[in-house]
Structure formats: structure tokens, C-alpha cells
Subunit: 387 residues, 2 copies
Amino acid sequence: MQNFDYQTPTRLIFGKGVISALPEVMKPLGQKILLTYGGGSIKKLGLYDKVKELLKEFEIYELADIQPNPKYNPSVLEGVRLCKENEIEAILAVGGGSVLDCSKAIAAGAKYDGDPWDLISYKVKAQAALPIVDILTLAATGSEYDCGGVISRTETNDKIGYMDELLFPVCSILDPVYTFSVSKKQTAAGCADAMNHVMEQYFTEDTTLLNDGFCESMLKSLMVNAKKCLENPEDYTARAEMMLCCTYGCNGILSLGNSASGWPCHGIEHALSAYYDITHGEGLAIITPRWMKHILNDRTVGRFVKYGVNVFGIDSSLGQYEIADKAIEETYRFFESIGIPMHLREVGIDESRLSEMAHHVAVNEGLENAYAPLFESDILDILKASL
Amino acid sequence: MQNFDYQTPTRLIFGKGVISALPEVMKPLGQKILLTYGGGSIKKLGLYDKVKELLKEFEIYELADIQPNPKYNPSVLEGVRLCKENEIEAILAVGGGSVLDCSKAIAAGAKYDGDPWDLISYKVKAQAALPIVDILTLAATGSEYDCGGVISRTETNDKIGYMDELLFPVCSILDPVYTFSVSKKQTAAGCADAMNHVMEQYFTEDTTLLNDGFCESMLKSLMVNAKKCLENPEDYTARAEMMLCCTYGCNGILSLGNSASGWPCHGIEHALSAYYDITHGEGLAIITPRWMKHILNDRTVGRFVKYGVNVFGIDSSLGQYEIADKAIEETYRFFESIGIPMHLREVGIDESRLSEMAHHVAVNEGLENAYAPLFESDILDILKASL
């Protein structure tokens, strides 16, 4: 077991109708609030009006139109400008992981005098950040319970995971009812995203019975509940359990004491969505089984056996490689069964830029230090197998 | 799934040698520290000298001799007096759950003008508390990651679980090496305590696949690792995993969204250790299988089936009651196998005060609202069956 230093100070207020706590949550943070959101689905949900009504005693500024794979330019830069010009005291992010990720970068940038990219690119360490509260409308990224965000800079094809312990939300308001209207496509992608967060932590060294059990339980719960959500989008219990599962995805609690794994599928997928702006969860689902096949060998087969037996109930008396192959096959089939396009071509990616992306990943993501080390040729092989 | 409001702000610094972080952790909290500890085992461990050395720039006051089942009088009262007289700014608790529980009550009492019992008995809500840091030497109670403590008041046979969100430790320093010298008796009792924490949350309504999986994983990990610790007390990996398991016991993360269970075994055991000052974990191990037998019925049998199949691997094709009976039997046998005395008589309790204790529990613990409601006659039956 490895040493660790862990803290997640975020308060989770979870359940039906909990948005009523919003004024009490915001009050100690300040009077001048930047409300951030995406393409307008919060208006369709009635959530925009609800928030404005609940916060009618506050001074509200707005940053709208935050896109999936949120962009440094214009969203982060525009948010930082609004904060500085209006002396914003706190940010209220209403939406999914992209809105929240973008808001975290804004929160840090608002308290920094230089170019916010200095912070995101780790050139400078943030010394302060605005407090963030979120109301989540999509179960997927776990951004509501971690201190990181992923920001894309289009002109350089950079997609950077930016983490700073100053960026834990003060409070995440999680009402599963707000996820009832999430489309089948986004529900499936959210499930794949959360499942991959678990797998990135599960496939490594120095794991424990405890952590393995937590990860396996979460994978099983996500698979069962995603299917229920797809069958009946208004199944409260299924939406709620899926939301709670996703919350644990990225704050480290599933792998305390495990060796660092390198998060290889995320490293590769970040290039896909930086170059092609595809849906992150779909990219992960496509990459995952190909990555699994690529890294399966005598050193790693034990982990695949445990995964296959405990997550998919594969007969433990079969041969090791037979179990591993079946486990990878089951992974692929599950993603396919929830409607995810399982080939890069289906999401608009052809072979033309695979080499360029493989090179970009090899240079920027440090995957030569991953649980199963990946060099440029490995990354290219995985991308080609994903076509 | 029930609504919930959850937050655990405590920082965990975990692993070999992490005590070196102590000065950095204490520095922002203040200069005048109350060091609290128990019967002197921290001196044998060399931990006392180490702490004094690391904190040589601080002004240290001491409260020693905190007993298991920590006492309001003298420990809490004496600690509060020391804090007030010396304008203590933070408490450093070094020891097991009892030292930490006592320190929490002191932390609240130190910031209150009246009788600290007003706070512990919930007559008055604390408005402030001193910050607490702990260095744990015993894996058991989970006090290092929750905001509660259990305090005994001998003259009234009260043993009260006192919780307040002001009482989360700021930081828990968890080095498994400090638990190498824990006796077999205390190692087993710690395991039983932590296992019962899980069971108290597992046997209830509105559970989820996720929470059930977390609980089952923790129970399996505790059983495997406690045996390893008993066989080889210096097995770092086993001590470490046991320590981490125990940490999750009482902060609620294993049962977010579950219905309240009432923690019935704790309710009953608090009377045993209040009246007879027995080891808490042993009392729990004795009560648990008798409580299970008592509440087994058509409404509860499903939970016992899940528990038996998933925790003990009992054949799921057997009849429901057969699985449940085997599961209860396995629970009893496991506790017996780690050397816990499994009858009240073996820990010095005879029939003479059972009725009095049953009445005390019925009046004070609210177990008529537990998952399986318990009235005075039920409690007496469970106590009699435990003799």
C-alpha cells in the first residue's frame, strides 16, 4: 500500500427538492454571484427560473453557452473578465461536468493577475480561487466532488486536466430529478465516463481487497442502473444511484493507497476530443476495450481475471486468458448494448490524423509511466484498433 | 433512496513515516497545544518523545490517563479546565478512539461557558470548538474520520454518542506502523467494532447496489486482514488495509441514501460498557449474532440472504432461512475464531442487572424506531441470549 494524502471537503446535498437549500448555501459566500451554464437546457428544465427566483436577493451576473469539452477561449477568458470587472464573490455552476470544469478554471483565473493559462498549464500555482457551488444536471464526470477540470485550447489541440485543491466545490447540490431529461446518448456516455474512471483506478498495482471491492461494486451498480435509466428515464432510484456512483469517480476515494495508474484511456481520449470535439464518454468507451486488449499480458492478466470474475461473474475455473478475453468482450458488449457507437469512424474520426494524435499523446500525457507503459507506437496501435 | 446532506472535511495523511507532516499540520492552528493521550502506551511506542521533538517550537500542555470508554469525570472536565486556563488553541490527540472521542468533547467544552454536559446531552448546541488533530494508534472506531465521540458518565450509567459537525478532526495522521504493537485482544475487538459499524448500516431499508457492495467489500477485507494481523502483527499491508477500513466506519459514506437503521447493537452495547466498563468491540461481537437471530423474520430475511451469499459465499441456491441461519452462524464463528469471548459471562456480566440495562436502553436509545424495532422485552431477550 502506498502512502497518501487525501481530503475532499465538498458538502453534498443530495435528493429530491434539495435545491431549496441554495440561498442558505450561497449566503455566507457573498452577494455578487456569477451564474454559469451551458446551451440553455437549464432554461427548458425550469432550473434557470428557479435559481433566479431563489437568489432574488443576490446580484447575479451570467456566463452562458459553455460548450462540452469547455474552451479556454472564449468561455474561461470571458468568465474571468466578468469576475474581475464585477468583483464577483462566488460562482454558481448549473449544468454538467463541462460547465463545472470551466467554472473551476474561471474561479482560479479570477484571483490571478496574469494569463489564466499559466495556471491551467501548471506554469504558476494558484494562490486563491473564488468559491464554487454547483447544481448538477448530468451524472458523469465526478467534477462535483473533485478539485479538477478539463479545459480545451482549440488552437493548440490541448486538452488539459487541471487540478488544484483550491477548486473543490464548497457544495454540490445533486437532485436526480434534474437528470430525468438527459438524452439516451448522454446517459450512456455518462455511464461510460464514470465506468472508465473506475477502471483507470482499478487496473494498477498495490490494490487492496477494499478498493477492489469498492471499484467492482461501482462498476456493477453503474451497469445495472444505466440500463434502468435508458429503459425508464424517470426511474428516480436508478437516476439517483447513478448520480451517486458518478460522484465518487475522480476524487481518489476508490483507490487510496493504490499505485498511480497514469489514467491511460483518458490520456488517449483527450486527444480524440481535442482534435475532433467528440463526446468524452463515447471516446472512452471506444478506447477502453482496445486498450485492454493491447495491455493484456502475463503481468496484467491477474487483474483482468479478478475484473472478469467479480464484475461480470465469469466462471473462475476457466483459464486465465480465457477469462481475460471474455472480460474484455463483455466490456465491449456492455458499451454497445447501451447504444454507444464503438468505432472511431462512427464518431467522425478517420485514419488521417491518428499518427499526429498518437504523437501528441506520447509527448504530453506521460503514459510511458502508466501501469502498463504506453509509447507512441502503442498509442497508435490502440487508435488503429479503434477505427 | 433517501435524501442526504454529507460532508467529511477531514484530511487523511496516511502511511509509513507520515508523522513528519505534524509540524506543518499544527502550525496554522496555533501555538498552544493540548496533547491528550491514554495510559502511556504512546511512551512505550516512542511516539510521545517523537511528538515532543517534532513540536519543540510549540507550547505543549498535557492531559494523560484518558481511559477506554472515556469518562466525563475526570477526563473531559479536566481537559476543558486545562484548555480554558491556558488558552489552548488546538488539541493533538494521540492514541485510539477513546482518546480522540474524549478530545472531541473537550474541544467543544473548551469553547462553551456552561457545563460541558449540556453539549454532550444535546441540551445546548455548540457554537464553536477547538481544532483537533490526531495521531492514531489503534484501528477500530473510525473517530478519526467522523464528527462524533462516545462519552461515559459513570454516576448515571450514561454512555452517550455525541456528534457535532464542528468536531471533525482537521487532520488525521494514520501510520499503520503504530498499530504493530496492538495486542491480539485489542486487534480483534477493533475488527469487531469496525465490522459492526458496517452491519449497523447494512441492515436497513432503501439500500443500493453501490452501498451494499461497499459494505460487503469492507466486511470481507476486515475479516481477511484481521486474521493476517493476528498471525503476524507486523504485516504492514494488513495493518494498513485494516486501518483504512476502520476509517470509513462511522462517517456515513457506506450508507448515503440508506434509511436510518437506528444502530441497535451500539444502543445495547453502550449499556454493557457503561454498566460494566467492558471492551466496546467485544460487547458488540457478543450482541451482534444474538441480535441477528432475534430480528430474523420474513421482512428481514432478504437482507440476511444477501449478507450470507455476498460476504460469506454461502450457496445462493439454498433456502432463504437456511442461508440466513448459516450467515448468522458464520458471523458468530468468525468472532470466535479471532479470539473474542462470545458470552457475557466471560467478560464479567451475569444476569443480575440485565433487566435494569434493558430498561435503560429502551428508555434512552430509541430502538423502537430501528430497522427492526426493539422494545424493552426484545432487548432483554437479546441480552439473555448473550449470557
